[in-house]
């Protein structure tokens, strides 16, 4: 029996959730049954944000502003000492309905080989693994968006075996790894592996992903990523490079009688500093700069996109911040020698997490 008094529903629209898919309704019902029985084992977290975004869209300038709101509600459920489950719901003013983003169950019987099953993130690149509420910029870089579109990043149903380094508890094992196999509903099977080495504030990682698409237009493609980062209390900097085959462009080239191996390179760097201003209202400011570049085809890099994202997070509390960012996209396509700023966006939002 669903009641509006339940804390889960107090944070989400009951109408919209109940209008979602039957699968979601079943999961929600299961959650509502389980949570009261084991309330001490459930942790809720999430975030909310609201603000305005101004887009460079051609040619409909009168619709280049959008006032928006969005939120996430995540339930982490300790089913036993060694088994945890997670449900992650998202919603925003665009869809106005709750979307079940992640369902997973994690088995922690083996310290160095935890097993996660569900609709989970594929281990590819730093951005691909970062939680939205832990990520410094407002937006993912265009390189990550492209990787997700090609299928290397993002969530699929799969099995992941991983270990995340815990340097305080196990300083002699400064390594993290994740190996997984995934399947989506577009006949694509993905295998991905990523390893990281931690030393002081430094982390370096190497990842490899292979995707095999079956049925008509079958193709197998590969992607590699390498990255490094340095983190202190007042600074965070990361740089990563990716080289991934574009499966769809490969299929299209095949139609032209050309090689179906089309490599798409991308690089991305982020630097952020945290400055404690010690004010009564503003505690900390965090300016950051993200630079990124990618080309759809390494052999035709004249066609490319560069990104300059400059922003600042103004913390009024550890968990409440004003976020301003200008995300400039500079695209040179095959039709012109000049750069277009189409798709650029300026955003101001108030963001909180819990």
């Amino acid at each position: 029996m669903i009641t509006t008094q339940h804390p889960f529903l107090m944070h989400a629209s009951r109408r919209s959730i109940l209008q979602s898919t039957p699968t979601m309704a079943v999961i929600l019902a299961s959650l509502l049954i389980v949570i009261p029985l084991r309330a001490q084992d459930v942790t809720f977290s999430g975030f909310g944000a609201t603000g305005v975004r101004m887009y460079d869209r051609n040619p409909v300038s009168r619709y280049n502003q959008e006032f928006f709101y969005e939120g996430k509600l995540q339930a982490d459920i300790a089913l036993s000492k060694k088994i945890e489950a997670q449900l992650d719901f998202r919603g925003d003013s665009e869809e106005r309905t709750a979307i079940l983003r992640e369902v997973s169950v994690t088995f922690k019987q083996l310290t160095y080989a935890r097993v996660r099953l569900g609709n989970v993130k594929k281990p590819y690149s730093i951005e691909g693994l970062m939680d939205r509420d832990e990520y410094i910029p407002v937006f993912d870089s265009h390189v990550h968006r492209r990787n997700a579109e090609l299928g290397y990043a993002g969530r699929n149903v799969g099995l992941l075996v991983y270990y995340n380094a815990n340097l305080e508890k196990r300083p002699t094992v400064p390594y993290s790894y994740a190996v997984g196999v995934f399947k989506n509903n577009s006949y694509v099977t993905t295998a991905a592996a990523r390893g990281s080495w931690h030393h002081g504030g430094w982390t370096t990682s190497l990842g490899y992903t292979v995707m095999a698409r079956s049925h008509d237009d079958a193709i197998t493609t590969h992607g590699i990523s390498i990255d490094a980062g340095y983190t202190t209390a007042a600074f965070e900097g990361t740089i990563e490079a990716m080289l991934a085959q574009d499966p769809e462009e490969g299929i299209r080239r095949r139609l032209l009688g050309q090689s179906d191996v089309v490599w798409s390179p991308g690089v991305r760097a982020l630097a952020a500093v945290r400055v404690d201003v010690g004010g009564t209202f503003v505690r900390t400011i965090e300016p950051y700069l993200l630079l990124a570049w990618s080309a759809p085809d390494a052999n035709a890099a004249r066609v490319h996109r560069a990104e300059l994202m400059a922003g600042v997070n103004v913390f009024v509390d550890d968990d409440v911040r004003l976020r301003m960012v200008a995300d400039g996209l500079f695209t040179r396509d095959r039709f012109a020698d000049t750069y277009s700023t189409h798709g650029s966006v300026f955003s101001i939002e108030i963001f909180f997490r819990f």
């Binding site: 869809e95 990043a153 007042a234 400055v275 505690r283 300016p287 103004v314 300026f346």
Partner: protein
């Protein structure tokens, strides 16, 4: 990101710092135009679609699971909202695929609340639907309205798509046609109980939406048991035989290889009417790799051609189609006019012009193929005789 251990910093500098950051952001507000030729296409309207990037990635990964994502559509300076999902059957296997677009609220786009954006993956000319809809309409069949559009999603040219009216309640309402029942046929549909049949596997009742296929089952039973000399009496109650023969004749001339099992709608205007046909999905028309001959194969035509009168009616329908809507003197200029309208969009499409497909060549191939089919039917249709089981 927590900042509890950050070093101290003078608050006096805070306003200046914020100002400096804002000034840094200003240059990014200067805009430069997008040079993509899609913006200046003639003849075909541009639909610029914006889907949240993470949701777009999810849609791409869930073609077979009816994932539905929000979309903002920009057309000629107007904005609409709706949802987008993958659509189609065999086309979902391909690199290029089709969408179902549903507008929010009571909004309509080009007059439709729900529509398909069809990639027409088997039709490199994008002219087959024009050919077929004109021909079927001329023979009295209700056919879907359509128009070409050029689709961009999140700044990427997806290409030339056929915006197709869906066959639903609104389809009949727009035409002032009554509808009591509408049945769609799926892959491998078999019309009869000869070797066992599970109706729910092959047929779906669209109007009214229900799993009750009893009436359709009675039609199939009648098809199984009717005697050729008594078709009008025993089968005519369930199937408009003349309507079906006209459909089958035209579909056979057009080598509509997908039109004899799936891609057919059966509808009844009233509870006492026999089933009539609404044709659907023409991109595999004049398919070059399979020839259906004089008569496309399915259980319905196999049974009907056991009757002398049905054979005569079939031949008449063939002659009527050849001399009427398929007369090259009337249909070819229409195809060429349509080709002229979509030429620029076709050339810009990454999977058509961008993949080396020449519209002029494809248009010529289509017309040549149709000419050969017409010659074949003129030469051989009189040789068709009544079949005996």
């Amino acid at each position: 990101m927590h900042a509890r251990h950050a070093p101290a910093f003078s608050t006096a500098l805070f306003p200046q710092l914020i100002t400096a950051i804002l000034l840094l952001l200003v240059p990014a507000c200067e805009t430069a135009p997008d040079s993509n030729p899609a913006w200046t296409l003639d003849g075909v309207p541009l639909i610029e679609a914006q889907v949240p990037p993470d949701r777009w990635a999810e849609l791409r990964a869930n073609r077979w699971s009816d994932e539905r994502v929000p979309v903002a559509l920009y057309i000629d300076g107007a904005r609409f909202r709706g949802t987008l999902e993958a659509q189609g059957a065999g086309s979902r296997y391909h690199a290029r695929w089709s969408f179902k677009l549903t507008m929010d609220g009571d909004d309509t786009l080009f007059g439709f609340h729900e529509m398909n954006l069809s990639a027409q993956i088997y039709d490199p000319s994008h002219l087959r639907s024009t050919l077929a809809t004109e021909a079927f309409a001329a023979l009295g069949f209700p056919v879907f309205a359509h128009r070409h559009i050029f689709l961009r999603v999140n700044g990427t040219n997806l290409g030339l798509y056929l915006l197709v009216e869906r066959v639903n309640e609104a389809f009949f309402h727009r035409r002032g046609l009554p509808v009591h029942e509408l049945i769609s046929c799926g892959f491998g549909a078999r019309f009869g109980y000869g070797e066992g049949n599970h109706l729910e596997k092959y047929f779906e009742k669209k109007i009214p939406k229900s799993g009750n296929l009893n009436s359709f089952g009675e039609f199939l039973h009648a098809l199984d048991t009717a005697e050729p000399d008594r078709f009008a009496e025993q089968l005519g109650t369930y199937l408009d035989i003349d309507n079906y023969l006209r459909y089958h004749a035209l579909a056979s001339i057009l080598n509509h290889v997908d039109g004899f099992a799936n891609n057919i709608y059966f509808y009844r205007p009233t509870a006492s009417s026999p089933y009539q046909i609404i044709p659907w999905d023409f991109d595999k028309l004049l398919f070059p790799h399979h020839d259906v001959g004089l008569v496309g194969d399915n259980e319905i035509i196999e049974k009907l051609l056991r009757s002398d009168s049905c054979v005569a009616a079939y031949k008449h329908a063939v002659r009527q189609a050849i001399s009427g809507p398929l007369d090259p003197a009337s249909i070819f200029p229409r195809l060429e006019a349509q080709a002229a309208r979509i030429a620029d969009a076709h050339a810009l499409d990454p999977w058509l012009g961008g993949a080396g497909i020449d519209l002029a060549v494809e248009s010529h191939l289509l017309q040549s193929h149709l000419t050969r089919r017409l010659d074949f039917f003129r030469d051989h249709i009189e040789s068709l005789t009544t079949s005996r089981p």
